[in-house]
């Protein structure tokens, strides 16, 4: 309460905002540190299984954040982001197995490899519009994971059975009984905060402005000197890099890279997360990731404890998923973030009636 009272002054008086609010960079840094602190407190208060879910939320949020920048900001649709996650996961699996690099390096390299692939796809995508782009990326999601079954690659990629990833254990300095899941949640959380920090800065940068211009009107953007294709390729590059990093974390958290894990469903749940959270909003990406990760688990447990007949039980999670999707979209067509924003405005008007 006191915080909001204090904030009234700078608004009424001619602008004297605190230093950290003046600079975009400092402001994002402040929130990042706060986010890290929150994640730390969360992880030490949760049991190992909840920490595993936290780590899963982190990688889903990273991939969704990348997708939301691509779709919400630069206006390109991708139904194939699961394929990029797969590339990141396989890169991490192979690097961990063959090179034994430290995990940080492995994750960065996996993200870089996927980003490079994303840039290639972006070159094609810059020439495609709407349904054609959706179709092309859909083909990517369906086709790429089956590469693992290709004869020449089977020895390397493990065929339909995929690869088993042995997760790097927590450092001994944390104590011998430190839970692996918490360590993974820490790595995931750190990656998420770094990614959100970088993306938030990108969004507020001239590049981000160009992306919005391209999304609104390509011709107008071109006339005002924006290189449309280059901006679109850049968006694909960034977004695929995020998906690649998410894939690396996926492989580390789930101990695997295998074709059965990167089905079309994964691509669609990333898109669902982006839409649920609010297209184009980084915070929305986190909300969406929380929902698509936790909801199936909750509804499964619910159906199990309700002792339903099997035909019903197996379908309850799907039905619930659909219901949540419909309710959110009906209530907040702009996603959960628009709801949060609305609630923020509403609260502020109550606290401080003009």
């Amino acid at each position: 309460m006191t915080a909001t009272k204090e904030r009234e002054n700078p608004v009424k008086a001619p602008k004297v905002p605190p230093a950290w609010r003046e600079s975009t960079l400092l402001r994002h840094l402040f929130w990042s540190v706060l986010g890290l602190l929150a994640l730390y407190l969360l992880s030490i208060s949760l049991d190992p299984f909840r920490n595993l879910q936290l780590a899963q939320i982190c990688y889903m949020a990273i991939a969704t954040a990348g997708l939301t920048v691509l779709s919400g900001l630069s206006g390109q649709i991708s139904l194939g982001h699961g394929a990029f996650v797969a590339v990141g996961a396989y890169s991490t699996a192979l690097l961990l197995e063959h090179e034994q690099w430290p995990i940080a390096l492995v994750l960065v390299v996996s993200a870089a490899i996927t980003a490079a692939l994303g840039a290639l796809v972006g070159v094609a995508a810059a020439r495609l519009r709407g349904p054609y782009l959706a179709g092309a990326t859909l083909a990517l999601a369906v086709g790429l994971p089956s590469l693992a079954d290709y004869h020449g690659l089977r020895e390397v990629l493990g065929g339909a059975n995929g690869l088993i990833v042995t997760p790097p254990p927590p450092p001994l300095s944390l104590g011998e009984s430190f839970p692996l899941e918490r360590w993974q949640a820490w790595i995931g959380g750190l990656c998420l905060v770094i990614v959100l920090f970088l993306l938030a800065n990108l969004v507020r940068s001239p590049v981000g402005r160009n992306m919005r211009l391209v999304r609104e009107d390509e011709d107008a953007a071109a006339l005002s000197g924006v290189h449309v294709a280059r901006t679109q390729i850049l968006a694909f590059w960034v977004s695929a890099g995020c998906a690649g990093l998410a894939g690396g974390l996926f492989a580390m958290v789930n101990n695997l890279a295998s074709p059965g894990a990167f089905t079309l469903t994964l691509s669609l749940s990333l898109l669902t997360a982006a839409v649920l959270g609010g297209m184009g909003s980084l915070a929305g990406a986190v909300y969406g990731a929380v929902i698509v990760t936790l909801l199936p688990n909750w509804s499964n447990n619910l159906a199990q404890s309700a002792n339903l007949p099997q035909e019903v039980y197996a379908n309850v999670p799907l039905v619930l998923y659909g219901v949540v999707l419909i309710v959110v979209i009906m209530l907040f067509p702009g996603g959960i973030q628009s709801g949060v924003r609305w609630a923020g405005v509403f609260l502020r008007s109550k606290i401080r009636p003009e």
Binding site: W31, D47, P48, A200, G260, L282, Q337, V345
Partner: protein, 434 residues
């Protein structure tokens, strides 16, 4: 709304915190020091595809195993403990298998994982289960990979592995079709390749004229089947799941090609295959009688025939089926799941009143478990492999009819030898003695 945009990251993380914390109702443990065990209950878990591509047939295994446990519970349980099975739907997606297995172990505190289904799915959790010292019993897959007591002391197979089955079928081909042309139609993964490994130990390589793989999921097998038909093989061995046994049969019918068929037990359940044959035929506008089409199909069985009510095991399982899950068809999957459920109850009995994880493992390693299987298990300190063999069976009027005596072998170069000991009869009340 610049202000609200600034706080996005912060709000998001707090929301994640709130949502996760609110779900933080811990799973129950129990008074005993062994997870999942109390004085009057033992909780076990499993992952089974209830939805998705692998669900038809396999989804019956959860309810069937549960039905058997419910029957045991209704008759007093084991050592005064009621068995509670929690089976979760992994949709045959290995990432789901990992999450759900961790949920079972870390959150639901299960005593053991029993009858988890699938090679690509279960291989990803074997390390986790073993490093957590959770008994990982009777994996529902014939992969040779479950038999590795040194690396995975807590993991046990159950059904005969695919190489053992391949050897039995190969031996049959060698004895009955000497000099004939043979072709293989196999699933392009560990299942198909392990099976071929066994076949090749007996069938002369000069006899094998075609080896055609298929990818599960791709239902157009015309190219492979016509290549086999062109090779004019007299005998075709199918290392296939039921859907591809049916697809092979229908496609070869269209080509007017009618070889002698052998199939691994995985893809030879008469009820499942004939149902699929009728379904597939209906989709392409034809009407066939499925059971006629698989007449004469040769397979290697390791459980008694489903329709042989004179067999005490079949009678027992049919009785439980009719009482607890009458809506599920009484097919090979139901029989299979009730059988491993029986083996688990038997192991619990052998582990004694003071139930611990190590006690259960010791009881299994002592060996000597016999049950619905036609041959014994290979369980011991040096082997965690399931059934040691099976018996050639030929489909006659829609059901498997056993031929000759059961045989046993191993997954290496051991010979295929007849097994003459008689199958024990089911206990009168259906519950194994301590």
């Amino acid at each position: 709304m610049a202000a609200s945009r600034q706080v996005r990251a912060g709000i998001a993380l707090t929301a994640a915190l709130a949502l996760t914390l609110s779900a933080c109702a811990g799973g129950g443990g129990g008074g005993s020091s062994t997870p999942g065990v109390t004085d009057n209950s033992v909780t076990i878990g499993s992952t089974i595809p209830l939805t998705g591509p692998a669900a038809p047939g396999y989804s019956e295994q959860g309810p069937a195993a549960k039905a058997f446990f419910d029957y045991v519970n209704a008759n007093g349980g084991v050592n005064g403990r009621q068995i509670s099975l929690k089976y979760l739907d992994d949709g045959y997606n290995p990432a789901q298998t990992v999450t759900l297995t961790k949920q079972l172990v870390l959150q639901d505190n299960v005593f053991a994982v029993v009858g988890a289904l699938g090679t690509p799915t279960h291989t990803k959790v074997v390390d986790f289960l073993n490093s957590s010292r959770v008994p990982d019993l009777f994996v529902a897959s014939g992969c040779t990979c479950w038999d590795n007591p040194k690396e995975h002391p807590y993991t046990y197979g159950w059904q005969p592995d695919y190489t053992v089955e391949g050897k039995i079928l190969g031996d049959y081909v060698k004895k009955n079709f000497a000099g004939k042309k043979v072709a293989y139609f196999y699933q392009d993964d560990d299942f198909g390749r392990d099976g071929m490994k066994g076949l090749d130990k007996y069938i002369d390589p000069s006899q094998v004229v075609q080896r055609q793989p298929y990818q599960p999921g791709n239902t157009d097998v015309a190219a492979q089947v016509s290549a086999i038909a062109r090779s004019q093989a007299d005998v075709v061995v199918l290392e296939t799941i039921p859907a591809y046994t049916a697809l092979f049969k229908l496609t070869s019918l269209k080509l007017g090609y009618n070889p002698k068929l052998l199939a691994s037990s995985v893809g030879a359940d008469p009820i499942t295959v004939s149902g699929l044959l009728e379904n597939f035929a209906k989709q392409s506008g034809a009407s066939v009688k499925g059971s006629d089409l698989i007449e004469g199909l040769v397979t290697s069985a390791y459980l008694p025939a489903l329709n042989d009510m004179s067999n005490s095991w079949t009678a027992l399982f049919k009785k439980i089926h009719d009482q607890y899950i009458p809506n599920v068809p009484f097919d090979g999957n139901v029989y299979y799941a009730m059988s491993y459920a029986y083996t688990f109850v038997q192991a619990l009995q052998a582990a004694g009143k003071n139930l611990t994880r190590q006690g259960l493992i010791d009881a299994l390693n002592k060996g000597g478990l016999r049950g619905p299987g036609l041959v014994p298990f290979r369980y011991g300190a040096d082997s965690h492999a399931g059934f040691t063999g099976g018996q050639i069976a030929i489909v006659q009027s829609g059901a498997q009819a056993a031929q000759g005596t059961p045989v046993t072998t191993d997954d290496a170069d051991g010979p295929v030898v007849p097994y003459t000991e008689k199958q024990p009869t089911a206990p009168p009340n259906g519950i194994p003695a301590a």
